[in-house]
Symmetry: C2
Subunit: 349 residues, 2 copies
């Protein structure tokens, strides 16, 4: 890819998810005590800003100038697109968390799709190996993976994980692994879509809609997971972000880069389901991508854990699967799959 | 790793496997018509030599100065270690094959573990991306994967594969996929072992054994797959290679770099089994590695295809699993797993 000075926006997000171990002597310790004013300051290092905020009893949900942040009692999720630098926020987060008693991280995930224009990114995000080197200055024993095809459509993951100890046929986990693994079901599905239907994308412009609310209803995003309370934002002249949260503490988040030349939509949720096939179908029907990646994490307590493999045999009439991989981590299973439309037009890549 | 001028040998092999489509009008076309004298010449480009040769009605098996070559009617396998350059033999092979009517490749696999000392390798093997670039000058649509952890213990794969076409819930393969996929069961297991038991490795030196035959019996390699007719070779002052072939046309091959500082043993076979657990157990008991990688390919006609996942729940008393990944390719499933010894000593890495 040569130099290109035309307008370009990298829709692909960098996604950080940190789970702290609840301090044993302090059940009141809560990451949500960090105020919006403090986050306003800390997010400067990431090069993004808070533009909207909602909350319920379980989770604080921030819409950012580039994507989203979700803060719950001991989990922190930061997802930012463009040329933001979310890893710069990690050390400040850990310092703030430690001050309120969160001194141990029980799980850590950093992931992203390959960038379309990596040369536009800033340190430490210019290459995955640079991100790994940066994370290795913070963590010990990080594990790094590339799913999908190297240097083509792929998805990078950095995670902290303890090996299993196997004894007499039973899986015994090392003592250090604890926290949510057995007590708290957890699952995350992401659908990362490219080359989307131009008519659908038109909805997410100020030419077509006045505000986020109108775009949400017109696109039927509000019907994807109907129990979610939605906080949406339509950017000038185009672009859309939404967070949804429900009373179970579950979230969903969608971010849309509608420009035809580099259209990109991401869907993410931790909603608990035994089978994601119908949800995936609804997301695909909403956005009509020419290609997409699905990733599903599910821990051993999650009802999705046992059934996520059913997806291997699920077919989508308009799309064909190009790649499918499954990783077994000590406490999580990860499913990764890529699909492309059967009726690929000239504009599809 | 800094510069090191001490004696070093890269045991890690580069493995090329090519399946040609049988010419429809010529069932007599056979790669084994290429004579040993021609291979002597062609293998100069790989920087290795033939040192022993056996055959049966199904397969020609060559022991090389660096590892092995197996030639059957329409399949060619070249596995070479050290600083050899096996990809240099691909174009000459394809030219020779085309002259006898093999004009279409139905399957292609190039794979290897990460090198311990990549800086010692020669073009085009200095980096995986260099190998990919080289292969891309020969093939269109190659797919590249990195299993395991990037830049740590990982295993690279370049393969030619057609996407599946899914229709009404049934898997319909594209017309171009043919040949062995449905007619001929195929499976390959590799066990790549490092940091092996020094006492076991002692067997594979001229200090301990006079020749390959003695080392084969002393180490009980001949008991791993007892129906194999073995062609073995013990190098001066140390190092060992063996090929085994049986009347079904199945092969096994073992290559041993015994030096304590960089000990490495590879086991490979295409023997057909519904469950490889016992075979793996025998190989591990023979060599006692501190760490190892297992890869299993099985196509849809193979009896190993459905059962290879049982391995996910198989435990080995002395080793714990560090990573496990599964890939679904159009006609093959691939299982990849890494293990380390529970009782890791100071010399283990």
């Amino acid at each position: 890819m040569g130099e290109n000075t035309q307008h370009y926006f990298e829709g692909v997000e960098k996604l950080v998810e940190v789970w702290f171990k609840q301090p044993p002597m302090d059940d009141e310790a809560d990451l949500r005590r960090i105020t919006k004013e403090v986050w306003d300051e800390e997010l400067k290092a990431v090069k993004c800003e808070i533009i909207s905020f909602t909350k319920n009893s379980e989770v604080d949900a921030y819409v950012l100038s580039e994507s989203s942040m979700f803060v719950s009692k001991r989990r922190w999720i930061l997802k930012t697109c463009g040329t933001t630098t979310p890893l710069n926020c990690l050390k400040p987060l850990m310092k703030m968390a430690a001050e309120m008693g969160f001194v141990e991280i029980s799980d850590f995930f950093y992931s992203r799709k390959n960038f379309a224009r990596p040369e536009l990114q800033l340190f430490p995000h210019r290459m995955f190996c640079e991100e790994v080197k940066f994370l290795d200055t913070i963590f010990e024993g990080g594990q790094t993976y590339c799913l999908g095809q190297i240097n083509k459509d792929c998805w990078y993951l950095y995670t902290l994980s303890q090996p299993e100890r196997e004894l007499k046929g039973e899986l015994i986990e090392l003592p250090k692994i604890e926290g949510k693994h057995h007590s708290e079901p957890d699952q995350t599905i992401e659908i990362l879509m490219e080359n989307l239907d131009p008519q659908v994308m038109q909805v997410f412009t100020k030419l077509c809609c006045q505000d986020g609310k109108e775009a949400t209803v017109k696109s039927k995003i509000n019907e994807i997971l109907p129990d979610m309370i939605i906080d949406d934002f339509l950017f000038e002249p185009c672009g859309y972000s939404m967070n949804g949260i429900n009373q179970l503490g579950e979230y969903m988040t969608i971010h849309i880069t509608p420009e035809k030349e580099f259209s990109y939509v991401s869907f993410e949720s931790n909603v608990s389901m035994a089978n994601y096939a119908e949800l995936i179908q609804r997301v695909l029907a909403t956005f009509l991508p020419a290609k997409f990646i699905i990733t599903i994490f599910a821990n051993k307590s999650s009802e999705a854990y046992a059934t996520m493999r059913e997806l291997e045999t699920t077919s989508y009439s308009q799309w064909q699967r190009a790649d499918m991989q499954c990783c077994n981590f000590p406490s999580y299973n990860l499913l990764f799959a890529t699909y492309t439309a059967n009726n690929r037009g000239e504009n599809d890549c």
